[in-house]
Every structure is written in C-alpha cells, then in structure tokens.
C-alpha cells in the first residue's frame, strides 16, 4: 500500500491552485472526500487508467478482481496512430483463493505471459483496492519481473479507495516520474523540444494541434500520454519546456520535472481561438526566440482569418444562443471562451471542481448575469436550464441522458466523445456539432403531445370556459 505521507503530499500538491489559498477551509476541493450516497465520480484506479492507458505500445495489466479491469477495459476514447496493444484488456481476475493465499505469484506469472505473448514496450501494473487490502507487494513483483525479463514493469499504486479520479491521475504521474521519465535518451534534441502533459488524444484531438507545432518547427518530444509510445516518455526529461494542457491533474509531473531537470512549465488550453493563440504565443516566448515569435504571429494571422471565413455562417446561426456548461476544472472556463468565439452566451457554468483562479476567470468571462453552479447533480442542472431558458447543455457523457430525457439539446465534452474540439479546426467541429444539435428537426417531434392528449386538453379548456361562463351568467342573473 502506498505510504500515507505520499498520498498526503500529492493531495497537497503545491503546483495546484486548490492548495494556494491561505484560508484553509476554502481549498478543500482536492482533499474533499467522496460523500456516501451522493458521490458520482470514478476512483483513483479510474484516474490512473485515464492517464496511463493512452500509452499505446504498453500493456496495461490490472491486478484485481474482474470488476476493475473487466468492467472498464476498452471504454476510453484515446486514439492511436500506430500500436493498438493498449486497447487489449489484461487482468489477473483474482479469485477467492488468490485473496486467501495472496496474488503475488499469479501476478508474476501474468506479467511473464504478457511479455512473452504480446511483446509490449513496457508493462504497467495497476494495484486495486483488493490487492492493496490483502497486502500484495506489487513493487517487489514488478522489480523481480523487470530484472528477470529485462523489460520495464512499472507499478502503479492506484487502489480505488485512496481517493478520487483526480488523485489517480497524480498517482499515475508519480509512476511516470519514478520509473519512466529520464530512463532513456532521445536520438537527438533541438532547441524547440516541448512535452505536452495532460492531453490524452480523446477523439484524436491532439492531431488537430500537432500540425500547428510542426509548421512552427516546434518538436513535441513526449506526449503525456495521448498517442504516446513508452520510449518517448522515457526521454521527456530532455525537453526545453513542459506545456500542461487543460488540467491540473498532472501538475505534479510538471512541477517535479522543473525541480529535477530544470524544465519550466506553462499551463495552457487548446479550446477557443483566444486560448490557442495564447498557447502558441506563450510557447514561443518561453522558448525565447524572436524568429519563432514572428512565425507564431504569422500563423495566428493566417489561421484566424481562415477560421473567420469558415465560421461566419455558423456564427450567424449560433449568435446569442444560450448554453449551460457543466464540467470540471479548467474546461469550466476554457469552453466559455470557445463559446464566445462562436457568439454564444454561456448563461451558467459549474465551479465545483474549479480553483479560485479558475473561478476568477469564470467571473470575468461570464459577466454579471452568468450563474456559477456550486452544487452538482442532475436536478440542479435541469433547474438552472429552466431558469435561464437555455438552448443547450454542454457536459460530460454522464449527463447526456439528463438533458435528452428532458428534451434538451446536448453536446458531449468529456472523455467518451467522438468529436475533437481542440485547436482551430476543432472549433469548426464544435460549431458544426452545436449547430446540428440546436437546429435538428427532431426537437418539435419529441416535445409534441399526442393528438388525443391535445384533444383532451382542448375539451377540458372548453369545459372550464363553459363553467366560468355559466357562473358569470348566474351571477348576472342573481344581480337582476
């Protein structure tokens, strides 16, 4: 089991703004414990998988009962440009006997078989609640397997009960820091080498952005971890700059790489014109090259002009349409700026998982009438949609049916979605999707009531009217 102090240190990650506030009561969102009965999120194992499974040429072996690996494999939207091994679910599928006698031997044999039959670049071994509870020493097993098979076998201490998905992201980051980053040297380096941290290539999002870097002559040395190979992450310590994308979740990796290797980091977002422009400008400024900065300005001018042309018809149709945004962390403001680029009004957004800094930005972007949703849950969302008379809900897949069942147009913004929204071209994709959602011919149909119900209503109205009429006639009669 991971030592208590380590978990506490990760929860208090100084790079995370949640922990910057002096007022101790106000910065609890990282440390917040899930509430029995109302908690809805994933566990630390879920978070660790989100972060590491996108490494495409590695095998991901879940050491636990079938629920952890069996119920979750193959359900994530990270895409690969090459290897597909990451999509194969591996688990030790613990039985009652393993729990009584311990699962270490089984784990060792499982690792041996994975390496022999599937020839992965590395094996990530995830511990789960049950294996943590029975005290399997996965560090020792992984070490023994590494020595025996001469292949990196990396333990990930992701027992679900240690905390939330967010903590799981960080625990996965710790595994990368301890066992992967700095274990190999790149073939060559350039002055324009960067790492992308916290971008998982959901729906191929990263592929919207990589061509931009290519045009600018910026090399992405290591992607953490969308569409990544194991080897590139091992060389990440040679980059000149870390770019943390849209997430506080892996900030511990960026901060510790700064400590260890002196690599500075910046926090950026790929959503919306303003943010992607800012991201490119910041990278150029940090890499400290005037020539690059000029190139960035040229690219921005070209891309924004092109985008304005393409977006014009959509902007006309989306203008002043009202959006309620329900998501976590950085996205709670980065999507607002994307929405503004399309001329839409964000009338409410969630701030449950946001840092104070996020909240300040949200306030700026929303204006005085915007609603900041502090509380979560389906009923709250529906209430606010009704109150603001919103046209559209933008949220994670989990809330898709909250919106649809209430006959409200919906756009999926989280993990399982199928459309990439990052970068300049992503904004066009988003405009298309929102346009489709709002102007679909189906809304009238799903909101319509059956003719016989309408008939009943009309009859009821006539009856009430008659009753009123007769009453007033009576009243008139009484008067005379």
């Amino acid at each position: 089991m991971k030592s208590k102090t380590k978990i506490a240190a990760l929860l208090n990650e100084p790079g995370c703004d949640h922990n910057h506030k002096k007022d101790k009561d106000k910065n609890k969102s990282c440390k917040q414990q899930a509430k029995p009965g109302s908690a809805q999120g994933g566990c630390a194992f879920d978070g660790a998988s989100i972060t590491l499974v996108p490494i495409t040429d590695a095998a991901h072996l879940v050491h636990g009962p079938i629920a952890c690996g069996g119920n979750s494999w193959g359900s994530r939207g990270s895409l690969s440009s090459g290897p597909t091994l990451y999509k194969t679910g591996f688990t030790t599928d613990l039985s009652e006997n393993d729990i009584i006698f311990g699962g270490e031997k089984k784990l060792y044999k499982a690792i041996a078989r994975v390496i022999k039959e599937y020839k992965p670049a590395a094996v990530f071994v995830y511990s789960t609640c049950v294996t943590a509870l029975i005290g399997d020493d996965i560090d020792a097993v992984c070490q023994a397997a590494t020595n025996k098979f001469n292949k990196p076998v990396i333990p990930v201490h992701s027992a679900g009960f240690v905390g939330s998905k967010n903590l799981g992201n960080r625990l996965a980051g710790e595994s990368l820091l301890e066992h992967v980053i700095g274990t190999a040297e790149p073939e060559y380096t350039t002055d324009y080498d960067i790492n992308l941290i916290g971008e998982y290539n959901i729906a191929g999002e990263m592929w919207n952005v990589l061509p931009l870097f290519e045009k600018l002559g910026i090399r992405v040395l290591a992607k953490m971890t969308g569409d990544a190979c194991y080897e590139e992450i091992a060389t990440a310590h040679r980059a000149k700059l870390n770019v943390v994308i849209c997430s506080k979740a892996l900030i511990n990796v960026a901060r510790k790489m700064e400590e260890r290797y002196g690599i500075p980091y910046i926090e950026e977002s790929f959503y919306g014109i303003e943010d992607i422009n800012k991201c490119l400008r910041d990278i150029a400024a940090k890499l400290g090259d005037e020539n690059l900065q000029t190139k960035v300005e040229q690219l921005i001018a070209f891309e924004t002009a092109k985008l304005d042309r393409i977006l014009a018809p959509y902007r006309a149709r989306l203008k002043n349409k009202r959006m309620v945004l329900y998501t976590g962390g950085v996205k709670s403001w980065s999507i607002i700026s994307a929405a503004k680029d399309l001329g839409m009004d964000v009338v409410a957004t969630s701030t449950r998982k946001s840092t104070e800094e996020d909240k300040a930005r949200i306030k700026d972007l929303l204006g005085k009438d915007g609603i900041a949703l502090e509380k979560g849950g389906a009923t709250e969302i529906l209430k606010v949609i009704e109150k603001t008379n919103a046209d559209l809900l933008v949220a994670g897949g989990r809330n898709q049916y909250t919106a649809l069942k209430a006959r409200i147009p919906f756009l999926d913004i989280n993990q399982e979605r199928h459309h990439p929204y990052a970068g300049y071209s992503g904004l066009v994709e988003m405009a298309k999707e929102i346009d489709e959602a709002l102007y679909s011919p189906i809304w009238e149909q799903v909101r319509s009531i059956a003719p016989w119900e309408k008939d009943l209503e009309t009859r009821e109205e006539i009856r009430t009217q008659k009753r009123l009429d007769s009453r007033s006639e009576e009243a008139i009669g009484q008067r005379y």
């Binding site: 688990t91 729990i99 009960f161 939330s164 069942k405």
Partner: protein
C-alpha cells in the same frame, strides 16, 4: 453431454466476464423506484454505471457508499448509514438494493449485523425495504449476481403498509385475472420481457414480472424531466402480492433458486424454461400457458386448452421464416462467447437451424452448460474465443468482439453486455415466435450478404 473446461489461468486477456455487482444492479433496476447501492469504493459504481448508460442509452441511477482507505480499515457501517440516509433525503427511493463488492467482501464487513444496527437506530424507516445481496467481485459473474439478487428479492419479507392494504381492496377488484409470476432471467432484454408480458396477458393472466426491465430500461420518454431512482418496474405493491400467484414461470436456468424459494415460501409450483427462442421452446411455453388457462376455468364445463389465434399465425410465420432462412444457416460455423443462459438459448437455436457450433466460451459455472449442443465449452475470456474462431463464419458476443472479428475477417453479431456500438438495445427482442423470427432474419441477412460478396466481389 458437454465437457466444461475451466483452465486455471493466471492472466485474463480481453475479459468477457462482468462482475456480480453489475448483474445485481441490473436486476435491481427492474424494480420500480429503486436505488441500487454499491458498498464499495466509488469506482465500483462508476464503472457499472458507465457500462449500463452506454448499453441502454439511458440515465441510470446507481449509488455508492464511497469507501475510503480509512473507512475500509475501520469498517463500513458509518458509510452505509450515511449513504442510506442521504439517498432517502435526496432521492426518496421506495426500495434500496444494497450489494457488496470485492473490496468490502475482502474486508469482511458483517452486513447482517450492520443492517440490524441500522434498523434499530432508525425505527422510522422500518417500512423501507433494504434488500441485501452478497456479490463479491472475485466470485462468479454478472449472471450469478443477477440471480442472487432475484433470489433475495423474493426471499424478502415485505410488510404491506397500511396504505397498500387499503388500496389492495381497490386493486383486488381490478385484478380479477389470475396472476402468474414470471422470473425473468438475465438472458432477457427489456424488449424480450415486454414480449413475454404480451403473450401471458393474451391468455387472460396478469403477469407479475420480476424483475421487470421492460418498464424501466425499454427507452421511453416520460412527462417528468428527471427521475433519481429507477423509473419503472416491479412495484413494491406487486412484491407484497407475490403470494397471490397461481404459478411461477422461471426463464433461464439461473432463475431456478428463486423459483424454489417461491415454492418453499408460498407453496407455488413452477416450471423452468431454460430458453424461449426456437420453435419448440416457444411451443412449450405457449402450451403451458394454455393448460394453465384451462385449469382456471369452470370444472363443470369440459374445455380444451385454447391458444389465441394470433399465436397460431405467428407460429406459421416463424415456420415460413425457418424455411426461407435455412439455406443460409445450414452448416455455417458459429462461435459464441456469452453468459451461460444466453449461450444455451442462442446455441440451441443455431443448432436447430443446421448451423455448427464451432466453439463456445462462457463466464461462470452453471448446470445448463452440460447440455449445450457441442462437445466442449470453456469458462474463459475473449482471447479464448479468438483462438477457436479461426475459420468460423460468424462470431456472437458483446461489443468487445469487434476487433477480434475484424482481425479474423468474420462478421460479428452483438449479444450480451455491453453493446455500445449498436442502437436499440432496450427494444431488441429475440424470444417468442416473433423474436425468434427477427433473430433469424438479422443473422440470416449477415450470412446472405457474405455469400453475395463472395460470389460477386
């Protein structure tokens, strides 16, 4: 007789099995106004929820006791109490389905003790049924969790509340028809359950279906915008009237223990139908209903068991469909990876059509596995079926089979859980005369298309 292979493997590759709590929560979702509550870490609930949401494309109510490292060490009773009280406050469920997970079973929480303490501390909640079922992740599979849950649901002693006694009188006058309990196994989709209800009603019976997924997960819009608990299904009222049934029909071998429980508890006889697809299997079911209907009639008049005309028609249609499709099924080699009951139903249907079952993989032990129409079945994973399916004409399993089918260059017909790349899983019906016919057309069309492609590439 089929030999069952259970290779002792240290590694499961491309798992087929889903855990017991997944099956248990599915069963609970067939009870109206219910909140299934997982006693485990939040991930246990989150993963099951994602699977169900993506399969059915519905909002799925599931809750967690959100166990942490500390509460695991100290024991889960506080978390259980807090979770139940929070659910009552926020969601107001009529029934709570409490189930364990690998985490809390390994820890060894004394659930009976915890529930007793809870009951003592909260006499005001005495009328709220909390149905408990033990479903460790490290034993069995979804079918076992589902079956164990149905067994606990029928074993529970429901106290008719005063309001339900009062309304009982009203409803008794409405329900003049004799009631039959239908135990609907996990091989049945909501669409299947709906078909069964229609059939049973046509014989003049009132079907009390347990669990009734056709009311909660069939995919329908409601007037109210949101429901925090299961929006339909077997009601608490129904559950208090289980003893009124004249007969139990259990569908799927896994429903046997629940049927036995009803027999012991209320003395109600049952008949178990291990499957409801295929001409003969449906004939048996229809004939049983016809005989039951005659039993209920006045003994002074001699009457022969009668079957509503529409079934005669659909039976003839099915026979015609069998004729039309048999060209495409004959000698086709099929591999299946499904849970025991669904495997039994589907492989027999294919066998009866002249197809050859080339290989079969399943998730858990079941007596029905000994009676499959093939020599060997393996309790294993999808990498096992991948080996068996080389040279086959068709693979039948869940959506995870997609990459395997692609690699082997054979078509995939999706069955089981989860199916996340096909629409309409809540409505699909593959049982009864009509459902069998639809299945034959769907699969027959796959074979037909392949044949035409091969003739005219």
């Amino acid at each position: 007789m089929t030999t069952i292979a259970t290779p002792r493997k240290s590694l499961s590759v491309k798992p087929l099995k889903l855990s017991q709590p997944f099956g248990a929560s599915l069963a609970f979702l067939g009870l109206k106004g219910t909140m299934p509550l997982f006693h485990g870490s939040q991930g246990c609930t989150a993963f099951a929820k994602v699977l169900l949401v993506r399969h059915f494309r519905e909002a799925i109510p599931l809750a967690t006791t959100a166990m942490t490292e500390v509460s695991t060490i100290l024991g889960g009773e506080d978390n259980i109490e807090q979770a139940i009280l929070t659910l009552i406050e926020k969601n107001n469920p009529e029934i709570i389905g409490l189930l364990t997970t690998g985490l809390t079973e390994t820890r060894g929480d004394d659930m009976k003790g915890i529930l007793k303490v809870f009951r003592d501390r909260h006499p005001e909640l005495a009328s709220l049924p909390i149905i408990f079922v033990s479903t460790p992740d490290y034993k069995g599979a979804a079918e076992d969790g589902y079956a164990a849950t149905v067994e606990q649901i029928v074993a529970y002693d429901y106290q008719p509340s005063t309001s339900s006694i009062a309304s009982n009188h009203n409803i008794a006058s409405v329900h003049t028809q004799p009631q039959i309990t239908i135990l609907a196994g996990s091989l049945l989709s909501p669409g299947d359950v709906r078909e069964i209800k229609e059939i049973v009603k046509a014989f003049g019976f009132h079907p009390l279906v347990l669990p009734d997924l056709s009311e909660s997960l069939d995919g329908h819009l409601r007037d109210e915008k949101y429901s925090g608990v299961s929006c339909g299904g077997t009601s608490l009222e129904d559950l208090t009237r289980l003893s009124d049934s004249i007969f139990t029909v259990a569908i799927g071998e896994s429903m046997r223990s629940a049927a036995e429980t009803l027999k012991t508890k209320f003395g109600i006889e049952y008949r178990l139908f291990p499957r409801l697809a295929g001409l003969e299997a449906v004939d048996q079911f229809i004939w049983q209903l016809a005989q039951l209907a005659t039993q209920g009639s006045d003994p002074h008049f001699i009457s022969h068991p009668r079957v509503p005309e529409k079934f005669d028609r659909s039976r003839r249609q099915l026979q015609d469909a069998i004729l039309d499709t048999h060209f495409y099924f004959g000698r086709k080699k099929v591999c299946l990876a499904l849970e025991p009951d669904l495997l039994y139903q589907t492989s027999w249907l294919l066998h009866e059509m002249g197809a050859i079952i080339q290989g079969a993989v399943t998730t858990t032990k079941s007596p029905i596995l000994a009676e499959l129409p093939l020599d060997n079945v393996t309790i294993g994973d999808l990498s096992d079926i991948e080996e068996m399916a080389v040279g086959a004409d068709l693979l039948i399993t869940n959506s995870h089979g997609k990459d395997i089918a692609k690699k082997l260059g054979i078509p995939l017909y999706r069955m089981g859980y989860p199916i996340f790349d096909r629409l309409g899983n809540g409505q699909k019906c593959a049982i009864g005369y009509r459902g069998t016919m639809q299945f034959l057309f769907d699969v027959g069309n796959i074979f037909l298309e392949r044949e035409e492609e091969q003739i005219d590439p």
